[in-house]
C-alpha cells in the first residue's frame, strides 16, 4: 500500500460518518446518500495528488454539486421518507417527519443551499464559494427555499422563522 493510499484510507475512516450525514441531508435518502458519498470519494481518489492537503473541502464540494447534477441529469423525482431504512431517536419526531417531507419537496438546489447554510453553518459567501455561484444566488435561493417550506408546511413557521 502506498503512502497516498494509506492517507486516503485514513481520511475515509475518520470522516465517513460526518460526510454521510451531509450526504443524507442533501439527498433525503440513505441509498442515494451512499451513492453520492461513494461518488465523491471516488473523485477524491482520482484527484488525490491535487487535493490531499484539503480532501474534505473537495469531497464536500463534490457532494453539493454532484447532488444537483444528478437531479438535473436524471430529473430525479424525490420521494420523501419512504425509503428510509432506519428510524433514529429524535426529540421531536412529528416535527422531524414534517420537515423531512417538506425538504423532500424542495429542488436539490434549494435543499443544498439550506444544508450549507443551516447544517454546515456556512456564510452566504462561503456557500457561494463551495457551490461556485455568486453570494446573491445563495441569498435568493435561501429565501426561495424558506418561503417554499412555509408554503408546503405552514406548521413549520415557528421552526423556520421569518425570511432572512
Amino acid at each position: 500500500m502506498t503512502d497516498a493510499e494509506a492517507e486516503f484510507n485514513a481520511f475515509v475512516a475518520a470522516r465517513t460518518a460526518a460526510l454521510s450525514r451531509t450526504a443524507y441531508l442533501l439527498t433525503g435518502d440513505h441509498h442515494l446518500a451512499e451513492d453520492l458519498l461513494q461518488t465523491a470519494l471516488f473523485q477524491a481518489a482520482r484527484h488525490w495528488e491535487r487535493i490531499e492537503t484539503a480532501p474534505e473541502a473537495y469531497v464536500r464540494r463534490v457532494l453539493y454539486t454532484q447532488n444537483v447534477s444528478w437531479w438535473r441529469r436524471r430529473k430525479y423525482a424525490e420521494s420523501g421518507l419512504g425509503s428510509l431504512d432506519v428510524a433514529a431517536p429524535c426529540a421531536a419526531p412529528d416535527l422531524r417527519l414534517t420537515l423531512e417531507q417538506a425538504l423532500a419537496r424542495l429542488t436539490p438546489k434549494q435543499r443544498t443551499v439550506l444544508v450549507l447554510r443551516y447544517f454546515e453553518d456556512l456564510t452566504e459567501v462561503q456557500a457561494a464559494a463551495a457551490l461556485g455561484v455568486s453570494a446573491g444566488t445563495v441569498k435568493s435561493t435561501t429565501r426561495q427555499a424558506l418561503a417554499r417550506l412555509r408554503t408546503l408546511a405552514p406548521e413549520l413557521s415557528e421552526l423556520i422563522g421569518v425570511t432572512p
Binding site: Q38, L41, R46, T65, V68, A92, F119
Partner: protein, 495 residues
C-alpha cells in the same frame, strides 16, 4: 435564519447511518486517473503534433536551422536525461550492440562537450554538447565498452576531459578479433578532439590484447591514466584476464607508459597535472610519479572504505568515492605540519597524510548517500555525483520526491575553502522504464565556473507504442474535447 431549523437539521443528520464505502474505491479512482492522463496526454500531444506540423510547414526548408550559439553560453545542463534503450540496435552474431544507425553520429567534430556518459547494459557512449545541450549518440571507432572483453575489467572506458574539448575511450580493432584463442587483438585508447574531429590512437600491447576499463584525465586535461585488463584470451565469444595493468598517456602522445601496480584490484586511478598516478590500496595510499618514484603510505586509510576518484588541480587533495552510503564525503590529502625544534635550532616541517570528512546535509540525506567525485571546480571545491541512499519523502505537500535521485554537486573540501558550501547544480532525470542506465559519467568541470543551464530535454524518435498512442490519442482527444465541452456546459448550468 433560525437556530431551531439548524437544530432540527442536526438531529436529522445524526439519524443517518454511516454510508458503506467499498474497499476498491481507491483503486477505481487511480485507474480513472491513469485513464485521464492517457486521454489528456493524447489530447496535448495531438495539439502539439498539429502545431508542430503547422510550424514545419510554415517554416519551410532550411528555416529550422538553429542560429549559431556564442561560446559564452556553453554550460553544463541542469538536468541530465537518460537515453531510451530502444535506440540501441540488437547486434548481429559476432557484432557488438550499437546505436540505431539512423541516429548514431560518426563525425566527432561536435564541438565542446559538457557531459559524457555510457548508457545501457552493454554501454554505449553519449556526449552532450556544451553550447546547445544536444545529445550525441556517438559511433566511436573501435568502441570497446560494448564488447565482451569489457566484462573482464570494471568501469566504463569513456572520459571527457575537464575542459570538455577532448574525449577518450577504450578501443579495439574488430578485424583482429577471431575465433582463435591464440590471436592477439589490437586495442588501446583513442582520443578525439571534439572541435576538429581528429582522432589520436594509442596502441597498447600485452597478453592477447589490453581491454581498457576506465580512463581518467588530469585536472589540466593534459594527461590520461587508464586502467585495464591484459587478456589471456580475447575472441568473438570469449574473453578472460588475470592480469590488470595501468598506464599514463601524455598530451598528444601516441604511446602509453605503463604504471606498475602492486596488485590486482578495482582501484580507480587518478593522475595529477604532473603526471603522477595515485590510487588507494586496502589500507593505504600509493603514488608513482613520472620518474617511476613510488610513494607508498600504509594504514592512513584504515577503516575508511574509499577509492580514489578525483585529484585536485594542485595535486594535494583527492576526493574519494564511496561505494556504501555514508553521511559524509571523504578526502585524502597531504598536509604540511611543523615539528618542534627539539634540540635543533631550526624547526622542521614534514608532509603527513590525512583523511578528512565533509558532512553531507543531513536533511537531504537522512539515510546517507554514495559519493562519486568527477573532478574539481577549483582547488577547494570538488564536483561530485551524490546519490541518496533511499527514497525520501519530503514534507512539502507530500508530493515532492527528491530522494533516491542522483545530483551533481559542487561542495567545498574540508580544510580548504573559508566557508563550507554544498550546491546542487544539476541532477539526473528520473529514469523511465526502458531507459538505459547511466554509467561512467564524466563532466567538463571547467564549465562549472558559470551556472548550469536549462536546456530543452532531448527529443528522441517515437517508439512504435508511442506512435500508436499519439495517433490514437488524436482521435481520443477530439472525443475528449467534445465530452469536456459538454461537461463544461453542464457544470455552468449546475446552479
Amino acid at each position: 435564519m433560525t437556530d431551531a431549523l439548524r437544530d432540527e437539521l442536526l438531529r436529522m443528520g445524526e439519524a443517518a447511518p454511516p454510508a458503506v464505502v467499498p474497499r476498491d474505491v481507491w483503486d477505481r479512482g487511480r485507474r480513472a486517473r491513469r485513464r485521464d492522463r492517457v486521454v489528456a496526454g493524447g489530447a496535448v500531444l495531438s495539439v502539439l503534433v498539429a502545431l508542430g506540423g503547422l510550424g514545419v510547414l510554415l517554416a519551410g526548408p532550411g528555416r529550422h536551422e538553429a542560429p549559431p550559439v556564442s561560446s559564452r553560453s556553453e554550460a553544463v545542463p541542469s538536468v541530465i536525461h537518460h537515453v531510451p534503450a530502444r535506440l540501441e540496435q540488437l547486434p548481429a552474431t559476432g557484432h557488438d550492440v550499437a546505436w540505431d544507425p539512423k541516429l548514431a553520429e560518426s563525425d566527432l567534430a561536435i564541438g565542446r562537450a559538457s557531459v559524457a556518459f555510457t548508457s545501457g547494459e552493454r554501454p554505449l557512449p553519449v556526449v552532450i554538447t556544451a553550447a546547445d545541450g544536444a545529445y550525441h549518440l556517438l559511433k566511436l571507432p573501435g568502441w570497446v565498452g560494448s564488447n565482451i572483453a569489457s566484462g573482464v575489467v570494471e568501469g566504463g572506458p569513456l572520459a571527457l576531459s575537464p575542459d570538455g574539448r577532448q574525449l577518450a575511450w577504450g578501443w579495439y580493432d574488430p578485424r583482429t578479433l577471431g575465433t582463435d584463442k591464440k590471436g592477439v587483438v589490437a586495442a588501446g585508447v583513442r582520443v578525439a578532439d571534439l572541435e576538429t574531429g581528429k582522432v589520436r590512437t594509442v596502441g597498447l600491447s600485452g597478453g592477447h590484447g589490453v581491454a581498457v576499463g576506465t580512463i581518467r584525465w588530469s585536472p589540466d586535461s593534459r594527461w590520461i591514466v587508464w586502467y585495464g585488463a591484459e587478456t589471456d584470451v580475447w575472441t568473438e565469444g570469449q574473453a578472460g584476464s588475470t592480469h590488470l595493468v595501468a598506464g599514463r598517456i601524455a598530451r598528444g602522445a601516441t604511446t602509453s607508459e605503463l604504471v606498475g601496480l602492486d596488485r590486482a584490484g578495482s582501484e580507480q586511478l587518478v593522475i595529477d597535472d604532473h603526471g603522477t598516478v595515485s590510487w588507494t590500496t586496502d589500507s593505504g595510499w600509493e603514488s608513482v610519479d613520472r620518474e617511476g618514484q613510488s610513494t607508498d603510505v600504509t594504514d592512513v586509510m584504515s577503516g575508511v572504505p574509499g577509492t580514489a576518484a578525483a585529484v585536485s588541480p594542485s595535486g594535494r587533495s583527492v576526493a574519494l568515492a564511496t561505494g556504501q552510503p555514508r553521511q559524509d564525503a571523504l578526502f585524502f590529502r597531504w598536509v604540511v605540519r611543523g615539528l618542534g625544534g627539539g634540540s635543533d635550532l631550526v624547526g622542521r616541517i614534514e608532509t603527513v597524510p590525512e583523511v578528512l570528512h565533509a558532512k553531507l546535509p543531513a536533511d537531504r540525506y537522512p539515510e546517507g548517500a554514495t559519493i562519486e567525485p568527477v573532478g574539481w571546480a577549483d582547488d577547494d571545491h570538488v564536483v561530485t555525483l551524490v546519490t541518496a541512499a533511499h527514497d525520501v519523502r519530503r514534507s512539502r505537500g507530500g508530493s515532492d520526491w527528491t530522494g533516491g535521485e542522483t545530483s551533481l554537486v559542487v561542495m567545498s573540501a574540508p580544510g580548504g575553502a573559508r566557508d563550507s558550501s554544498y550546491d546542487v547544480v544539476a541532477r539526473l532525470a528520473r529514469s523511465d522504464q526502458g531507459d538505459g542506465r547511466i554509467t561512467a559519467m564524466s563532466v567538463a568541470v571547467d564549465l562549472l565556473d558559470q551556472p548550469t543551464r536549462d536546456f530543452p530535454a532531448p527529443e528522441w524518435p517515437w517508439s512504435d507504442e508511442r506512435k500508436v498512442a499519439v495517433y490514437g490519442g488524436i482521435g481520443v482527444a477530439l472525443l475528449a474535447a467534445v465530452v469536456f465541452g459538454l461537461a463544461y456546459r453542464r457544470g455552468r448550468r449546475l446552479l
